[in-house]
Amino acid sequence: MVHGELNIEKGAEVGPFRPLPTVGWKERLLFAFGRRQAFRVEGDSMLPGLRNGDVVLVDPRSAIGPGDIVVALHPFKKGTKVVKRVSQTGDDGRSSLVGDNPDESSDSRSFGTVGHDDILGKAVAKLRSTIDG
């Protein structure tokens, strides 16, 4: 009920969700050479694309735009990183982040927009969880 109040609706600005490709040999190589960072996804706010326990590979150098999945620093919880999708980017360079599964997501609807410097990178590939099946 609390979600969607700011008129950020699922897919409203981001268009059809682009699923992340599964990690291939190229991404493996880039990871090996330190050009990709790996994060473990915890929670259900990015379902169905990302499941709890999945691993995402993040490109810290990529440009960020609406529709991209990013890993960002939480604006209020120091040290906490979140994985969300960019719904829109303002003229001031700040981005709104929203979960693909808004009913299970705390995102820009509650913590506001996120500055460019707090976005650690764009998720470019995923590896399915082998922990949770």
Binding site: M1, H3, V23
Partner: protein
């Protein structure tokens, strides 16, 4: 090389939800503030018994003490419900639209303290007026037309 990833050692990127239910309504604060207003009236109207009738005296003390105890409790509850709305429901975008929101909540929370300490009809009514304003802003943010009403 990736097959040997030790996944548990990777940094966590949270895909969480903080909100347990997302159900809010300023009516909770309104009901408590209304109780405070009514109890303030009752305390002011309560007549001290004449003469030395001990039973009547004890009954008076008992009633007055209960009025005071419940008024204090309800004032605390009103403040609690207001703080929940302020800190959990309202978002940065709401503040942009309602520039006086922080001031409104701050003053309304202070009124809760005032009506707890005092027996002031004026402050109790002011608290109700402020909660009415909170009600109006809250339902505006929800895009719903919910008329203000009181139970008493």
């Amino acid at each position: 090389m990736l097959n040997k990833w030790r996944i548990r050692e990777f940094d966590v990127a949270e895909a969480h939800c903080d909100a347990p239910c997302g159900v809010y309504d300023p009516a909770q604060a309104r009901v408590e503030a209304e109780s405070v207003l009514q109890l303030t009236k009752k305390i002011l109207d309560l007549k001290r018994p004449d003469g030395g009738d001990e039973k009547a005296g004890a009954a008076y003390q008992n009633t007055l003490t209960r009025f005071i105890a419940i008024k204090e409790e309800r004032a605390d509850l009103a403040k609690h419900h207001l703080l929940v709305l302020w800190t959990d429901y309202f978002k940065p975008a709401h503040l942009e639209k309602y520039a006086d929101l922080h001031d409104l909540f701050w003053k309304t929370a202070k009124l809760c303290s005032a009506v707890k300490q005092e027996i002031s009809l004026e402050h109790a009514q002011e608290l109700m007026d402020n909660i009415k304003r909170v009600h109006e802003i809250f339902w505006e943010t929800k895009g719903k037309d919910v008329p203000w009403y009181t139970a008493s």
